[in-house]
Amino acid sequence: MAGQTLIPAGDFRTSYAADTTVFPTKTSRNAMIAGIALICFAPHVLNEYSLSLLIQIGIFGIAALGLNIVVGFTGQISIGHAAFFGFGAFTSAYLSNRFAIPVFFCVPLAGVVTAAVGLIFGLPAARLKGLYLAIATLAAQYILLDFFARAEWFTGGSVPASAEPFSIFGYSLRGDKKYFYVVLAYVVVCYLLVTNLMRSRDGRALVAVRDHYLSAEIMGINLTKYRTLSFGLAAFFAGVGGALYAHYNQVVSNEGFGIERSIIFLAMIIIGGLGSIMGTLMGTAFMVLLPESMEWLSVALRDSPIDRFLGLKNNIAFLREMAIGVIIIVFLVFEPDGLAHRWRQIKTYWKLYPFSH
């Protein structure tokens, strides 16, 4: 055996840095870069409608990412996420209208302001757990909604606030085709930020708080700090997402930031995979595309032989809503670990193909 060396076969990691690298192999990094490059052509290929769906996925994906930090990584619960999303939207509109700050700066600023608000509402998290915390965040939802309705100086009250279009160096990025790139840039930056955060000391501390808060504390982790911090981070991304939403629609009305939106955010991260960064994006895509695909289905079903045979007529609309609910339930029963888990399994299967056992 002397003189013989073993040739490594497979995906070896010999250092911690190698193990926690963002992209485990060169191929995965190149694939990601290629994927992003490819999606840059989307505005030239896709129609306005598909493009608007992609933009929605991006915007909601950023906000859902924030929620995944607090729920998936830190193990807290928040059912007031949509209110922070709304707060970010109003803040960005307010900053650009009132102080004439360029929209380019308003978006991150809205994130920071929303984060500050999130930290305040996160303070109860240091003391509350489980259902009690859920109720406290629900209170945050209603307090903020009430604030939107009353603070006319900030939101315009019943009149929707207008938001300036996004612009860089005086070049306005109006319309889906141009705005798509703004959202894409923000998605890439936000997802890289969070991926790196989770590789850091603070990221590990958040997961430790989730896994075992008592042990985390005796390891010297300040629970109050990290629980509150997780809410601040969540609010930051909600704020950025909300700001992008505001400048996309160019008007911000008091609607769409209610509890049902909060629940949809939760559904996105549960379906995508709690504690999975890319899963968040998958779950968001699922929740955005599901109602749309159900819509296509119901359009296809209308006046088809099945429709005539069953005499569905206008009931198709109700069936669509029910189908969405049923699909989500079925999905959760058969994929409790989320899309990210299924994706990993698919990858493992193909890794060894055709020699899989």
Binding site: R13, Y16, D19, R204, V207, L214, S215, M219, I221, N222
Partner: protein, 231 residues
């Protein structure tokens, strides 16, 4: 180094600790013995701030009674709880890295040493810690605490429910900790380990310290053993 005076603790209305007095000097290995339910674990938890303590607890010249647990941990007091609460979602290596209190300072224990000492942990360094066996989890909890470079570690029932071979390994690890000059407060029920490695022993009964002495003295004192330890 650690000085506990007249320590009381309550669970609701039950008076669990009824005036515990003990002290541990730097580099000393001290065992806390006693039957189930006499308050050994509660003593450790009260020192660590997990149970609200009444009385005075001095660590390295500072009164730590009533401080939050994480502050106490940062002062250099390590605690290995009874239930091997590793973080299942983090890898073995991440669990160990989490123990580091000050990343800029090199302590007595390095991550590489730990992995070298425990080939089992090294082999699973990059797997989620949730899949480890009971013995491996116990090793990981102790190692994780050591990564924080404590000057005193309190270890609560490290050998409970482990196979004899692993008990031996845990014993060796505790001896190694002592050899490197870290003071130890060991809560144990297995007399053999405690007798082998301790400099001094405390025996608890009904929320108080009822005996203090060296292993030889405890061996000689059949009355204490019969009344407070043997079943």
């Amino acid at each position: 180094m650690l000085e506990v005076r007249d320590l009381h603790a309550y669970y609701g209305k039950s008076h669990i600790l009824q005036g515990v007095d003990m002290h541990i000097d730097a580099g000393e290995v001290v065992s806390l013995l006693g039957r189930n339910g006499v308050g050994r674990s509660t003593t450790v938890k009260a020192i660590m701030g997990e149970v609200p303590p009444q009385g005075s607890i001095w660590f390295k010249g500072a009164d730590i009674a009533g401080l939050p647990s994480y502050r106490i941990a940062h002062l250099g007091l390590g605690y290995v709880p009874e239930h091997r609460d590793i973080f299942p979602g983090l890898t073995v290596r991440q669990n160990l890295m989490l123990g580091i209190k000050d990343p800029r300072r090199a302590g007595k224990w390095r991550l590489e040493d730990m992995l070298e000492m425990f080939p089992n942990l090294a082999a699973r360094a990059d797997t989620a810690a949730g899949v480890l066996s009971g013995g491996e989890k116990q090793m990981l909890t102790i190692c994780r605490t050591l990564m924080g470079d404590p000057e005193l570690v309190m270890i609560d029932e490290p050998t409970e429910g482990l196979a004899p071979l692993i008990v031996q390994q845990v014993g060796d690890l505790i001896a190694e900790i002592a050899r490197r000059g870290v003071a130890i407060l060991l809560v144990e029920q297995k007399l053999s380990i405690a007798m082998r490695i301790s400099h001094r022993l405390y025996v608890m009964g009904h929320g108080r310290i009822v005996f203090e002495g060296t292993p030889a003295e405890l061996k000689a004192n059949a009355a204490v053993r019969q009344e407070w330890l043997e079943v």
